[in-house]
Amino acid sequence: MKKIIIILLALLVAGTVLSAQEITGLNIIENVYNRPTGNDQTADLTMSLVNSRGDERVRVINQFLKDFGELEKKIMFFVSPADVYNTSFMNWSYDEVGKDDDQWIYLPALKRVKRISSDSKSDYFMGSDFTYDDLGDRHPSADAHKLLREEEIDGEMCYVVESNPKEEEYMYSKTITWIMKDNWIGKKKEFYDEDDELLKTLTVKESVTLKDVIVITLSEMHNVQSDHKTIMKLENVQVNTGVADNKFTERMMKRGM
């Protein structure tokens, strides 16, 4: 028993020494990147878009996503508004650096599946304030990270990390992320535009833990320059239910919900 305590103590000391001295911005971002996300996920997504005048548009989407290792596939079906009911959208996102996503859309009124070629991850996702890049996981090696400080927000101790893109002509000049120390979940993120001015603020408001996987269920992206907001809310979230591989095909897009 005594031995165990000593070992534990030693580990603890070593751990604190290690974290105090060695943890870097890169370590933190890698931890976030490598956080378990589950193999698949289904959910009802309510996306509320609010413009500067306070006008609101609400879209309800039924979404499925599955990790195929080097490839992540996602399929979404519009539930409302009524005039886009059963419009579906499929996205295949590749880990491979430089490889663009494959995207398809099915328009029921046209009864045809169409490819949308997205040559840029800086495109905004469905008129929201999230770009495709904001939604996906950016590989830690794409940026240079720097731990700025540690601070408490909303009662959570966070690392504050600044990330500067290595590529030129990236849509952001830098991002600053507040990462919760205890679960490696981002709490807040600031995006700066090409002129180094604050463009957007992402705030994570709620998350749930399902089968050891933490899923963010309520987040808000606020474009402070245009005062446009997007609120993403996930409901009926299920993780690792074994979504079938063939869920992510053009045939399924056409079939609808």
Binding site: L49, N51, R53, D55, R57, F78, P81, D83, V84, T87, F89, W104, I105, L107, P108, A109, L110, K114, R115, I116, S117, S118, D119, D123, Y124, F125, M126, G127, E169, D195, S226
Partner: protein
Amino acid sequence: MEKFLNKFLRFPKITMLVLLIISIAFFIVMKKNSKMETDLDKYMPQDHPAFVYSDEAEEIFNIQDGIIIAIENQDGIYQTETLQKVKDLTKQLGKMKEIEKSDVTSLYTADNIIGTEDGMDVKAFFKNVPTTDEGLQEIAEKVRANEMIFRRLVSENETVTVIIAEIGDDVFSQEFYHQILELVHSFEGPEKLYVAGVPIVEGSMAYLGPKDMKKMVPIVMLVIILVLLLVMKSVKNTIITMLVVAFSVVWAFGLMAAVNIPIYAVSTMLPVMLIAIGVADGIHLYSHLDLFLRKNPKATRKEAVSDMLKGMWKPVVMTSVTTSVGFISLLTSEIFPIKYFGLFTAFGVMAAMLFSLILIPSAILVFGFPKRKQKAISESKITKNPFSYKFAEGVIKYKTITLFLTITIVAVSIFGITKVWINSSFLDKFEKDSDIVLTDKFINENFGGTSNLNVIFEGKENDTMKSPQTLRLIDKLQNDVESRLDVVGNSFSLADYMRRMNKVMHADKEEFDTIPDSQELNAQYLLLYEMSGDPENLWKVVDYNFKTANMTIQLKSDNSKAINNAIAVVEEYKKDFEKLGVSVNYAGSGYKGLIFTDLILEGQIKSLIMSLFIIIILLAFMFKNFWAGLIGSVPIVITAVIGFGVMGLLNIPLSTTTALISSIAIGIGIDYAVHFIERYKIYAKETGDKQKTMQGTMHHSGRAIIFNATVVIAGFMVLLFSVFPPNRSLGALVSLNMFTSFLGTVTIMYLLLYKTNLFFKKK
């Protein structure tokens, strides 16, 4: 009143000193507190329904006036250097603090909606400027294939492309204008660059008008001084008369500054008005003094002053009160700067009255009579039968001709009035060969137009604008207005997006360049559009909930006729839109300018009629005779009719400045009549003889009136040499008004007085 005035005149030096001190105080306040207001929006009545609606629409769709920068390359714009300039200039404009980055549109920022093998994409035309011919040709091909861009951002002959920077109403300043020009000029060569657009025109005008006035007013003053010297033959009298004018201007502007009211563009007309009105009192007073001294060369200063005040205080007060009433009636206007203008001009007129009655006699008491050459007096004594007598007799003798001529001129003028048109155009106020007009012309030749009319379609519920019926009707209206009116260069709406998307989703087949058949398909295309790119541009043609849409009609002229013609076509469709539950309204600065001008005119006509009634009643009370009131108003009515008639005949449109001139017609015209009738009344009482009364009046008042008219006409003729056309019209019309007032008073009004036996009845 006389006693009251005499109290001041007991201590003339102290009185003069006090007036001087107050004037200096006002001058200091004026120097310290005065500020110019150049934002034209501040002129608009904010609670007028048309403005409220337009402002709301402008906010929803971010409708702003755009500065248009055209880049011309004779060898075609698809050159690496030229496109690089488009990119760099676009970026630099976006970085200016007055311009929002997202409000700059150019080939660099424009979205290209294209059909791909199996879908649709929204892409930029270029990000990095290609250096190879193939790359450049590719951009050219893309532009040609996109009817949403071709002829809108790139001219048909591909030698000109434009960058449009939209700015808010309140950001334009002279400094900003120069910054833009400087920036644009730094990109010159071999390309030629041009700057145009509504903000530039408006801004230049708000700046040029007052600037030109500042330059012209001293020259006007100088000419008036010279003519005053000529007619008064006295330096002393001229100086004092000009002091009266100068003090009244200082008091009016001083009070304005003291109560914190800014100087608006119309306020720059204030000194003009006060010069025209203020010299009158001095001329009449000195003229009276002069005649008195001819008869009584031995009179003391006190006697002369006392006689002058006795004989003249009444008409001076009467003319000032009636003139002020004319200006105070401008309070009925819905436009605040015009209200203030009326109020402070009225105050200035009253101040001028005070100075005339106090400063002029005080100056005579202190400095003595004006020096007169003895010769002049003896000469005039010899003239037993002066011109004025002959003239008076002539008018009576040839009364039928006088009457006939008057009626003919009035009739022709009334015909002219029917041709008067209103113009709210800013561009028409510039010289035809000025840079600003030529640039505008150049851009209009190559593109859709530099002026916009926004038509706002509002449905009753969300998603109305996705309905095929509504979109088709909008599309039909667009085609109609574009094909029927030459002045319409282009139009743009959500319908253009829908047609473009329908076409590219059907492999660019022409037969699909139509509005999709179902609401669902429209909705799904729009969703697709939002997924494919930045939907920011969409919110300029439709609101967030697709309930309201904005159609932009591009006009090649900001002339009121152009806007009205376009509106007339849209109005034809109003019923069809109503059937679909869609209301049609208008927005934008051009439309607001139109409404604004209408409001000014409406107010002007209201105030003209009102002041006419008040003046008739005032005159009737003053002369204790109703007919005197009516007869007294004849010259001003004639003046106003001829003034507007000439504008109609000479095709001078009514605008804010020209409309205000009718206030001078009333303000000054009435002065002549009052002086004349008052003198007529005095002589009628004194002599009881019509012949003598008529001769005496013509000799006394007629003389002063012609002096007065000469001085002011000469002064305002100077404005004919102004570089700013509206100021030229102002000079010409004021001169004309003075002349007709004068002529009307000594001919037709005089004839009426004579024929009605007014003031003789009791005998």
